[in-house]
Symmetry: C2
Subunit: 375 residues, 2 copies
């Protein structure tokens, strides 16, 4: 008896898909997905009843989508994943991603997978500890543009720190380019924010961007930790989700997830950013908010934030980080919308007016600190 | 002078996108993508002319797409990638993937990135060496379904080897599940094909599926190599492309790329499977073919196969592996279409008739060996 059972029933990983099919095809299509994602053979080839019971996916619910097509919730025996993060993705949307009539809408891993994958190690609490901020939303910005040399980037970090911003991250496009090599930049920016802290007492967290192959990311994490970084940034879809999970497992500081390359997936943002990124270990998740240069509706944003903050089971809450070209002017409205447990990320808009960076950054900090009352 | 130059001009990474916009917006939208993918600030914030010249993307071509919308080819200075595989993806389609009006159609990395990322280490020649097959297409199948125990899977491998199939791979859903743990399966299947080789003289290559976090994949590769595997299978998008690249760099045997989770990307299959997978090191690339249970047109299949076999520059050719539920009956037609330098993958269809696996496998082998004349 190899199957993992709970109270006599197999534990299931549940995945909801949108099927772009007509009513006459819906049943057969959903059954085909159940096979495609597990046994991957015609039903007739599943001759062993134990295989059918223990490994074959099943259709748990199938209903018309008011917006057209169907929604199918499939249950996959958790053992099909081997409790491995890459194989988890394979069962969720491996071969089925190659069928253009399917979209992945939601993922409910269940307690066993949740425990195996681990979720955030630091979460909201870890970000609050690192920044020392209680009872209000956090502020965040990025040093950029790519192409600036290290002294200019460190100068930006110092100005943002002086303005009182809580977290200053590398722009996600800052890698190990010739203009500002990774190690040189990390050292310079950490020194810059520490110098300001000695002056003003406000200790901004500088989060360097970890990007590269797994080996390079491992080296970069060790370097950043040793240099004194109190948080790091990484894009799970650029690194690969299983590599991101390994990073989160080994990081002694909170990991902020960047959404780059994440929109490339035919997986609903609520599922990818709201469920999968935190499940794989993100402590804070940057996502494009309404009111930005990206088109994402308020409802999707609310669902992402809610899922990050109130995960099922014993998973730690992760910090929502709305972003994507938010203007200084819209900050108060966003504070009101996202509430206290969030970090607002305003990037380029702090730099649009030449010579006014410090003043605009201070306005951003004030806007978030003064927004009240918060839930 | 940090920029890398060739004959006075910056070397560019060229990426073509489809823009779902109207004529009046096309210019501005293309310029916005050029910024989004590099400096990621409004144009006014790029105050340093050196930054504009060395780091800012530029629109090289913009034309109406006969099928609607526009096609834009953007040039990004190669230095923006830092010659790193994850940052390469970031420049190709990082933030822009979050804009739903964009799709990535093509990628032309140029010689410097091509050399840095490395491409296939073994390629077509490596697969031919491993199998000993010259002058005809190769045959391939998979042991499945998931849920079978190791002796049953090894028994399938033996039957396929006895029928004379060149490559028998793990089904991509076989991971490290309780029914057939990875190490036990690899040992048993390698023994099975060796036993048949001693009997028949035909030495089938068994390719185990490497899946998991980077550390697990590294361990699995070492184990497979030590156990005598002469090729391995991995799904680049499940592992994460940079982790896949690291695997290819360290593998002493050819790596066959599986497309699982690859369809989840809003990147044209010709670009992902035809260009990016081999660029990152795949020696053979499985893709869903026309005539399968997936919908992919002949033209796209031809382009994928052509790009794999005739890459630009000094990159080694990779072996196209059409697959996706190909029936035994359609094998001759596919041999004719794909020509000699291809490997046909027929999976479940060899098992549909109970008790006829050996006979159907032999028919598959004959169909491919006898198909003639081939280009």
């Amino acid at each position: 008896m190899l199957a993992r059972e709970r109270g006599g029933a197999l534990e299931l990983l549940r995945v909801t898909y949108h099927l772009d099919v007509r009513a006459a095809e819906a049943d057969a299509r959903a059954e085909a997905v159940a096979r495609e994602q597990t046994v991957e053979v015609p039903r007739a080839v599943v001759r062993d009843p134990e295989v059918a019971r223990e490994a074959l996916g099943r259709v748990e619910r199938l209903e018309e989508d008011p917006a057209g097509g169907f929604r199918a919730t499939l249950g996959y025996p958790v053992a099909t994943t081997g409790l491995d993060p890459a194989q988890f993705l394979n069962v969720v949307f491996g071969n089925s991603s190659l069928h253009e009539d399917l979209r992945c809408l939601d993922v409910e891993p269940g307690p066993e997978l949740r425990a195996a994958l681990g979720g955030p190690r630091h979460g909201i609490l870890g970000l609050r500890r690192a920044t020392g901020v209680e009872g209000r939303p956090l502020t965040c910005t990025a040093i950029k543009p790519m192409g600036l040399r290290t002294p200019a980037l460190a100068g930006l970090a110092a100005s943002f720190a002086r303005a009182g911003i809580d977290v200053v991250k590398d722009d996600h496009g800052l890698a190990d380019q010739p203009w500002s090599p990774f190690r040189e930049r990390v050292r310079a920016c950490l020194e810059a924010v520490e110098r300001v802290a000695a002056e003003t007492g406000h200790r901004t967290v500088y989060a360097p961007n970890l990007i590269g192959t797994p080996e390079r990311v491992r080296d970069a994490l060790r370097f950043a930790e040793d240099a004194g970084a109190r948080a790091v940034l990484a894009a799970p879809m650029l690194l690969g989700l299983p590599a991101f999970l390994e990073l989160c497992r080994s990081s002694s500081v909170p990991v902020i997830a960047h959404p780059a390359f994440g929109g490339a997936l035919r997986i609903a943002p609520e599922a990818l950013f709201g469920r999968i990124y935190p499940l794989f270990g993100a402590d804070a998740v940057i996502f494009v908010s309404f009111g930005s240069r990206f088109s994402q509706g308020e409802e999707a944003c609310r669902r992402i934030a809610d899922r990050l903050r109130a995960p099922a089971g014993h998973q730690r809450p992760a910090l929502p980080v709305p972003a994507g070209g938010i203007s200084l002017e819209s900050a108060p409205k966003l504070v009101e919308f996202y509430g206290r447990d969030a970090m607002l990320l305003v990037g380029g808009d702090l730099q649009v007016e030449e010579g006014a960076l410090l003043e605009r950054s201070r306005r951003f900090v004030r806007a978030v600190r003064e927004a009240a009352p918060l839930p």
